[in-house]
Amino acid sequence: MTLTLSGVGYRYAGAAQPSLLDVDLELPNATVIGLAGASESGKTTLCLVASGLAPRTVGGRIRGTIRLDGEDVDAWPMHRLAERIGIGFQNPGTQLSQVADTVFEEVAFGPMNLALPREEVVERTWDALDALRIAELAERDPRRLSGGQQQLVATAGLLAMRPTHLVLDEPTAQLDPAGTRLVADAIGRLAAAGASILVAEQKTDLLANVASRVLVLDGGRVVRDGPVDEVLGDPTLAELGVAPPSAARLRMAVAAAGIDTAVLGSLDG
């Protein structure tokens, strides 16, 4: 159950410059990989390409190969890919179906389209709503929720699909700390159940919690790729426009003052 990108480049239609260059990425099952980078470094583009939306629905030109469990997906139509790879957009408004009048129907929309038995659709929908603690929103109109609530509803819709591969573009951008924690827990549970997940985030604290490996993009290229502690603990990270996680930043500030960071004790959790 591995998603593999080899030498992938991508240029939007009409763009003078490519937005991605020579990206290699292997996303094995039961793994969370974090994607960091400054604004406009290519994170969203990589999410679109890894999920197959670019170029299929976005246009533009792609190079290199994308394989799902060893099979080249180049000729696969979007609907076939969508059964295997879920994507969560940065703006939850984009994600909502716009046809569901209640949150329950919104979250059930995806599994219903998989032609699952009714009982299973209902069970998956409540599971997803419970996981993000939004069961009390079930009867509300999804179009009339706050941005944070919409982001949780959109994420619940993805969870209900029980995807084997999931690409999330800043899934907590609009969330308060409590919502962010719920999404982090949900990502962890999905991965524990065997899913492979790519998460693009500015919040490196979240990546430090959920990811085992982190890639950093700069100008459309992968400029860092390694174990989470190594990449996010690198003092040169800030030069790439990425704020280090709180713990790494605190250690760096203490070390810079000539104080032994051992006094801080464990900064985990």
Partner: protein
């Protein structure tokens, strides 16, 4: 410059029995940098929408420099309080970055060199000086958000209200927002910002107001609000102090809401290094 006085403010949304604000009292002095924090749904956005007249109180009142906001026209309020929305796509509409930023100050009567100066300064502060002819929708989401900030900044209102200014911003974007807050407050103007980012709050603001279920539950400096004794109250709103505050409390170093404060406390503690 303007003083804001909020007294017994209650807001009940028409469609429901939801008391979004349940009796808020707040005095915000001119030139203050105030962060408003709390869970989604705690009433932060409802509160700031009363400051520029987007919402009118169900009970209580808001005065700006002694004048009841309810008796001021939208135009009068717009000249006093600039509000930057969380989602830039709710306010961006022009065909170019420059005309977007010109729109507000022009409506307030700005013309000629004075207008140009205000617009240029706002573009410079948000790092958009090189994008004046760009269509706003050709900017990425994060820079479009900085554009929304620039367009309100250019109005040079005595009060600037920012709703989640750092969401979707990278490290450089957060630094820009912080520099804008410092510069505006440095001119004696007031900045009120809603934020979920406690690190940004502790490093940028001198006063933190914590809301829960439509009420103010904590109000003080970052050192006060993020002090060990308030951990339970913060926890009741699902907020956590920034990491240096937690570590400082654990090491018995007192209130250390920022990395800087923690390092200073470590340097001066009796046992030395």
């Amino acid at each position: 410059m303007a003083e804001i006085l909020v007294t017994g403010l209650v807001h009940v949304y028409r469609e429901g029995a939801v008391r979004a604000l349940d009796g808020v009292d707040l005095r915000i002095a001119a030139g203050e940098r105030l962060a408003l924090v709390g869970q989604n749904g705690s009433g932060k956005t409802t509160l700031v929408r009363h400051l520029n007249g987007l919402l009118r109180p169900t009970e209580g009142r808001v005065t700006i420099d002694g004048t009841d906001a309810g008796s001021m026209t939208v135009a009068q309020l717009a000249a006093k309080v600039g509000l930057v929305f969380q989602d830039p796509d709710r306010q961006v509409f022009s065909g170019s970055v420059r005309s977007e930023v010109e729109f507000g100050p022009r409506n307030l009567g700005g013309r000629g060199p004075e207008l140009a100066t205000a617009v240029n300064a706002a573009l410079e502060a948000t790092g958009l000086a090189g994008e004046q002819r760009t269509n706003p929708y050709d900017l990425g989401q994060s820079r479009r958000k900085l554009l929304a900030l620039a367009s309100v900044l250019a109005m040079r209102t005595p009060v600037l209200v920012l709703d989640e200014p750092t969401t979707g911003q990278d490290a450089r974007g957060v630094d820009r927002v912080r520099a804008v807050v410092d510069a505006v407050a440095g001119e004696g103007r007031t900045v009120v910002a809603i934020s979920h980012d406690m690190r940004f709050v502790a490093e940028t603001f001198e006063r933190v107001v914590v809301m829960r279920a439509g009420r103010v539950v904590l109000d003080g400096t970052p050192a006060d609000v993020f002090a060990a004794g308030n951990r339970d109250v913060l926890g009741s709103t699902f907020l956590e102090p920034p990491l240096p505050a937690i570590v400082g409390a654990r090491l018995g170093l007192g209130a250390t809401p920022t990395d800087e404060a923690l390092v200073a406390a470590l340097e001066t503690r009796p046992s030395g290094r």
